[in-house]
Each structure stands twice: as C-alpha cells, then as structure tokens.
C-alpha cells in the first residue's frame, strides 16, 4: 500500500494525537475542552474519509449521477456533531460553576485547593 492511499488516515491520526495532547497537557479547563473538540473532529474525519468515492458525488439522488459517496457515515457524524456541541455546552457550564466555587480554572490550583481542604477537614 502506498502513502497516498492512507494519507487521510495520517491526517486523522495527527489531529487525534494533537487533540489528545492538548487534552492531557493543558492545565486550563477551557483549553482542555477545546482539545476535546479537536479530538472529536478528527474522529469525524476518520469516519467520513473512507466513505468518499473518487468520481462520486454527494449522496443526493439525481438522474444525472450514478456514483454516490457513502451516506451512512454522514448520518452518524451528523448526530455526533450535535452531541459534541451539547457536550461542550454542558462542560462549559460546569467550568463556569467551578470558577465560581474555586475562583480559578487551572487544574493544579483546583487540585491544591481540594487537598488543602481535605487536610483541613481531617485535622
């Protein structure tokens, strides 16, 4: 197999790794959510790229065309996009509440505040 035939997967994997890195390495909660979004879009690419047929067209039936790209991944990804934005909205609402409770959205400060509170309660 050649490089060109698997190029789409290469792009997908790069985006996935980048999203994963942002997700793991950021201390800031909002940046983590953005990394999660990048990860999700790379998964969309993972599903849709194999469905494309060169020389085909969008899956809307018309008398002039005979070859269509695969409509099934489109349906799944349509659902996935909307669920993704619902997740983002809920995640941001939680981040706003965390900000009001801890006065910060940096992960290590929140962890330190939690541990200090635990130590204070135990003593």
């Amino acid at each position: 197999m050649s490089f060109a035939s698997h190029y789409a997967y290469g792009v997908t994997i790069f985006l996935m790794v980048a999203g994963l890195y942002i997700l793991i390495a950021s201390g800031n909660l909002v940046k983590k959510l953005i990394g999660l979004g990048i990860f999700q879009t790379s998964v969309y690419l993972l599903y849709i790229a194999p469905g494309k047929l060169i020389g085909g067209t969008a899956p809307i039936l018309a008398p002039e065309f005979t070859v269509y790209s695969n409509p099934l991944p489109h349906v799944l990804i349509l659902t996935a996009i909307v669920v993704g934005v619902a997740t983002l909205a809920l995640g941001l609402a939680i981040v706003v509440r965390i900000r009001e409770a801890y006065d910060t959205i940096e992960e290590d400060e929140i962890l330190a505040a939690d541990m200090a509170e635990d130590a204070g309660q135990r003593s």
Partner: protein, 170 residues
Amino acid sequence: MAVVVVAMVVRRNLFSVVVLAGIYSFLMASVLVALDAVDVAMTEASVGAGISTVLLLSALYLTKGEEAKPMRGPWIPLVVSIAVGGALVYGSLGLPAFSDPQAPIHTHVVPRYLQQSLKETGVPNVVTAVLASYRGYDTLGETTVVFTAGAGVIVLLRLRKRRAENKAAK
C-alpha cells in the same frame, strides 16, 4: 489544518485559541465538502464555527482567566500522545485504501439505501431519509440528548439568582 492545530497547542492566550478553533472548524468544513459530505459540512460549519465559538467566548468572559499558565513539563503527555499515535498508525495499516469501492463500508446495506430510498420514501436526499426514516430511533435519541444537555445547563446555571437574592437580603 495542521498548522492551525499546532498554533492552538502552543498559544497560551485563550482568546486567540478560541478564534483559532473557529478557523479550524471552517477548514474542517471545507475538507468535508471536498469529501462530498455536504450535510455534515453545513452542520460542522454552523455548529463548530458558530455556536461553539460563541459558547467558548461567553465562557471565557465568565471565567475571567484568559491565560493558561505552564504546568509541570510537557514531556509525559507528549510521550503518551505519540505512543497513542504510533499505535493508531499501526492500526491504520490494516484499513482499506482511500476510495476503494470494494471496501466493506460500501457493500453491506448502503446499496439498498441508495437504490430503494427514493422508491420507499420519496425523498432524494439520502442522508435525510436515512436519518429520519431508516434510522429514526437514533435521531430520537439524539434529540433527547440535546434536550438533556439543555436541561443540564439550565440546572447548573440557574441557582445563581437565589444566591444573589440571599446576598441582597442579608
């Protein structure tokens, strides 16, 4: 797109990261059009570049912090991500080549959808027909998920009024 993503990784000013995320969504939508996924591209452009950006900006406004500070070194996450990437590359070698008409994705149930959907549903847009009719239960579930997310946000962000009233009453 790779350039935009790398810039997002490196930049620490969250406002610029959000704008870069919007650019990234638009680029992704153009790639999706090139892959013949027009419905998905429209949804990704409107949702990713429109709603996501607005929500992120309002969340940034509410959380005051605009800069992400550096943490413990970046090496462990980098190693983990690259290891995962390596595993994914190894897995992708077994996947079918790009635009292979004999790939399993094209041969099971999709020819039936493509041929029968106009006769059975009278709707030329196959994606809408599959979404609303052949896989209608999934769409019902998804609508419920969106509803639940909305209800969750309402619950999370509503109590503030009572607290403000308590503060005013004291």
